[in-house]
């Protein structure tokens, strides 16, 4: 799943523009991640600040 490090995020919307799924939306100063996120990591790559991270959930 995609983790947003909100202390790092500068809510610029760079990530939103590269998301094919349209899973990200910048709502003023809050980046929202929708359920259709595929954890492809494209957003994490382009983030100018390093605020996004794909974390793999531990298998229970």
């Amino acid at each position: 799943m995609l983790k947003v490090h909100r202390d790092i995020c500068g809510y610029c919307g760079c990530c939103v523009s590269v998301c094919k799924e349209g899973a990200l939306e910048l709502i003023d100063a809050y980046l929202s991640v929708e359920e259709n996120c595929t954890s492809c990591g494209v957003c994490a790559k382009v983030c100018p600040l390093g605020a996004l991270e794909v974390v793999h959930e531990k298998q229970v």
Binding site: G10, Y11, C12, G13, C14, C15, V16, S17, V18, C19, K20, G22, E25, L26, I27, D28, V42, K45, V46, C47, P48, L49, G50
Partner: protein, 398 residues
């Protein structure tokens, strides 16, 4: 905000402001919805614009101009400096704006002309009937209302979602998003009348680093690198911090601005039934410079003009609205985007040695008209063999 307008404009930046102002001047009712609580903030821009470009839309006013430029400087990867100046004596070639005030002025003008404005009002979904856009659901400070419109003009910027919701793919390819960061710095030694561009794969891979003066000792110091080149430990911020530490160790940062700029081709089609896309949302940023203010104002105004014609004729179908798409592509702006896209694609493939060679060939240029086209023409004039490398594009540059 009413429940029905002729034109609903999503986004209160330069594209949205010009669209709304033009619409009401054409006798239409119009409303701008801006998701943020304030117009103009936060700034996502290096704020530079050419003199000719700006004055096509608005007379320069010191209340929203931070600094006037008389020249530009390009620094090659090896540190060699190329100076560009205007042939006109004392010529002002461009401005660095104060976008917070500038954007507000543009929206103010639209409001004074008769447009409604709603801030903290986010378009949350389109209203669509039989595949035709008929307005938008607006979340106004937590309260959802429906606003119907003959035409919706999406001017919702780089993070545009509206067109995507309407079925248009606006995704920017990773290699064509400029991942950027900018610091507004003060207490730094700069040439207050010249913009500076640093090129090179060590400094800013597939992009550039800029210093755009905002005052005698202040500047926007920023960088854009290709999304393809961005990653952990080598992000835009890492490159910028490295430069700032070396060049302006005593400078003070008074604003911290991340951002993304598309340098792809414009969208294949910028209209749909009842919908028009403008500015960054249409991906009409200049792919070579990353400049988008002029292109936003130009497309915003043109979109509203076309919307007025089409509403007047009672036909807001995609076919009718295509007049806008055709007009901007045929305009000087459209042709410049096309040409600069090819130049950008050529330049990003060159190793630093080649960039050094190109920049060394011309150390000083006096330009009659201060444009990237004239810069490229001059470079080609002294490097005739570049004509071959640029291929078919070269003919249009002579």
């Amino acid at each position: 905000m009413k429940s029905r307008y002729d034109v609903l404009v999503i986004g209160g930046g330069p594209a949205g402001a010009l669209a709304a102002q033009t619409a009401v001047e054409k006798g239409l009712s119009a409303c701008i919805v801006e998701k943020r609580p304030a117009i103009g903030s936060p700034v996502r821009c290096a704020e530079g614009i050419g003199k000719e470009a700006l004055t096509e839309f608005i007379d320069p006013d010191p209340t929203w101009i931070s600094a006037e430029m008389t020249g530009a400087t390009i620094v090659a990867p090896d540190g060699f400096v190329m100076q560009l100046s205007s042939k006109m004596a004392g010529g002002k070639v461009g401005y660095v704006l104060d976008r917070k005030i500038f954007d507000r002025e543009l929206v103010w003008r639209a409001a004074d002309a008769g447009a409604d404005v709603a801030v903290k009002s986010r378009a949350a979904a389109p209203i669509m009937e039989n595949g035709v856009v008929k307005g938008a659901k607006i979340d106004h400070a937590g309260k959802m209302t429906s606003v119907r419109a003959e035409v919706v003009i999406a001017a919702d910027g780089v993070e545009s979602k509206f067109a995507k919701w309407c079925g248009i793919d606006t995704t920017v390819p990773v290699r064509e998003i400029m991942s950027g960061v900018q610091y507004v710095m003060t207490g730094i030694d700069i040439d207050p009348e010249s913009t500076v561009f640093y090129l090179g794969n060590e400094v800013a891979p597939e992009g550039y680093l800029w210093v755009f003066p905002k005052g005698p000792k202040s500047a926007n110091v920023g960088i854009g690198i290709s999304g393809k080149k961005s990653g952990e430990g080598h992000r835009a911020k890492d490159y910028l911090d490295k430069y700032v530490k070396k060049t302006f160790p005593k400078g003070k940062t008074i604003e911290y601005i991340p951002g993304g700029v598309s340098v792809c081709r414009p969208l294949e089609c910028t209209v749909a039934d009842g919908l028009m896309l403008t500015g960054d949302a249409a991906r009409v940023v200049d792919p070579l410079t990353g400049g988008g203010i002029y292109n936003a104002m130009f497309t915003g105004k043109l979109a509203a003009q076309t919307a007025a014609d089409c509403i007047g004729k009672g036909d807001v179908s995609k076919k009718a609205l295509m007049a806008y798409d055709k007009a901007w592509r045929a305009s000087k702006m459209g042709k410049t985007i096309d040409r600069n896209y090819h130049i950008k694609e050529y330049l990003i493939k060159q190793p630093d040695e080649k960039l050094n060679e190109i920049i060394h060939s011309v150390s000083k240029i006096d330009m009659t008209e201060f444009t990237t086209l004239n810069l490229v023409k001059e470079i080609i004039r002294v490097n005739p063999k570049l004509v071959l490398e640029l291929g078919a594009l070269a003919a249009s540059l002579r």
